[in-house]
Symmetry: C2
Subunit: 339 residues, 2 copies
């Protein structure tokens, strides 16, 4: 066998690899954790939410970038946890369990996989998902590196907060940052060498590498009577349009309320010749929350008003996004199969 730091997945058997990874997957205690056919999890309230998401190399993440930056296994593990925890958050629920399935090429260094497990666990812990047990998972071989996580959650109140509940007159609110992950992506993807990044730019890149969904805000919004809520994974306009269609309403964003978000990104935008407001409106992967509330006084800590729900003007497909009262170009945002 090669030296420890050069060991790859191909050098270890499945059980050997599991022994390296499982001790690193530390969450809340499960009723029964990894090692059997399935994990056993408590379901407070007798129901639960469940979601699943996959990250694929060179599609959802890259290991090396034009800027010279290299993504770590830790970053990828963090991101996998964060995006799934965010989906649970967006239902007004508190994560109770996670399972992970890894598909690994033979040449993947063991240390990279260990780092991924550390990143997943750290996100669960540092994002505050302290009731989330990591129930083990599955390991397999493939020519392409990918990581799938499924996460369950318990509702914070007696109802889930759906996308379909927005009503004309509701206040539209956002929890979490906007455009930071997109700005970070643009930096990683640019020809500006990563060694020249300023401290502010490094913060933006960190927002792309390790998004921080506001996990207290989802349950808080449910308790505060949010009428609709969803995860901001594909950008404010695209996700807003989804909520508008699900609710059969128009969602009208007030761009003045987003100027502070754009200002934060303006230096990086200038350096890369981009528009900061495009990142705020169209940038995905921040994993904040888009929610609607009957009254502005209902907004819990962590949310800020960014617009109003209006009656749909009746156009197809039954809902639309407006910017300052005018129809927005809702094509901005991410679609896996477009282009």
């Amino acid at each position: 066998m090669p030296a420890a730091d050069l060991m790859t997945v191909g050098n270890l058997g499945e059980s050997g690899l599991l022994k390296r990874i499982l001790p690193r997957l530390q969450g809340a205690p499960a009723l029964l954790g990894p090692g059997d056919d399935a994990a056993l999890i408590a379901a407070p309230g007798g129901k639960f939410v469940i979601t699943v998401d996959t990250l694929v190399e060179n599609q959802d993440f890259r290991l090396s970038w034009p800027s010279g930056f290299r993504s770590s296994g830790f970053d990828v593990g963090w991101k996998s946890a964060a995006q799934n925890l965010s989906d649970v958050n967006a239902m007004g629920a508190i994560a109770t369990s996670a399972v992970i399935s890894l598909t690994l090429p033979h040449s993947t260094p063991i240390s990279w996989v260990e780092d991924l497990a550390d990143g997943f666990s750290s996100a669960v812990r540092e994002l505050g998902a302290c009731e989330c047990a990591i129930g083990g998972g599955d390991l397999g071989r493939g020519s392409e590196l990918s990581i799938t996580a499924a996460v369950t959650g318990a509702l914070a109140t007696d109802r889930a907060v759906l996308r379909s509940g927005a009503r004309p007159g509701d206040v539209v609110a956002v929890g979490g940052v906007l455009g930071v992950a997109a700005a970070g992506l643009a930096l990683m993807d640019s020809s500006v060498s990563h060694v020249e990044w300023t401290e502010d730019e490094k913060v933006l890149v960190l927002g792309q590498r390790r998004p921080t969904p506001p996990l207290a805000a989802g349950p808080d919004a449910a308790r505060a009577g949010a009428s609709a809520m969803m995860d901001l994974s594909d950008g404010l306009l695209k996700d807003g349009r989804r909520m508008a269609i699900a609710s059969g309403v128009a969602i009208d964003f007030d761009t003045r309320s987003l100027e502070a978000d754009a200002l934060r990104l303006s230096r990086a935008a200038a350096r890369l010749g981009r528009e900061a407001m495009d990142w705020v409106l169209g940038g995905g992967e921040d994993h904040g929350l888009l929610a609607t509330f009957p009254k502005v006084e209902d907004l819990p800590d962590g949310f800020r008003a960014v617009g109003m729900v209006r009656k749909s003007t009746g156009g197809e497909p039954g809902g639309e996004v407006l910017l300052d009262g005018r129809r927005a170009d809702s094509a901005k945002g991410f679609d896996h199969f477009e282009g």
Copy 2:
């Protein structure tokens, strides 16, 4: 756009593809099904089991075979459902929800993906998982086709049946078929053209393409007081060794009790120049159950006695598999990273 039957994933956007797939993913009604950030599922008993498994093209399944046979999307969808439902079954639980994540190359025909969704749903229904809601999932692009499913289940009794509960003196029992999937795999992988397969051989191939975990048997075993149980996914010897190690015992298979299993495979074995008993002892992917019971009278319908639990002889790593009282070659069976 090309003609309907030639459409690929690359021709449709993510939402277009979802519209094709979601109506085909029919299980039991969820409290809230696909379309929001997460699905909402009832958790009878206030706890649940959860498992996850991935199938990757050319690793866990192939689309074309040396025999000229071509695997359908239906087969792959069925297999994904079956192997996850089997893990839940092996805990003594009844499946309550499934979520699916698909990674698809651009060139994947839409019809193949629809067929996969049909196969997944059909397995849930035809295997008898009539309480399993299909809670939606995730779609993404990749260079390699893969499907990950996570399935949750409710315990049939007040306890999960673990691998670690086998005690000396217990009867070892099997539910479901042994070696059929391995025989089918050998046929698909052989140079004997698939058009020359006999009716008996087609049945073996079907066992590989669409395994039939005995989903009533897991809960029945829990109710009957099974002391240990696990899914037979990697072969009787390899999985038996895992149970022996988890329980700190020796598991002694009586090969006479397996002769009927081998007999069923003997013609196909003769045609391919293989040993039928090798398939019975080492063949994976049948997704039957290996269980232990305190007394032979405890065995519920669908189980047959195949051996005894004995005291471990104290060798490393604390448990072993015997064949007729002698140490078995436990290397038989499947490991994703070996070889």
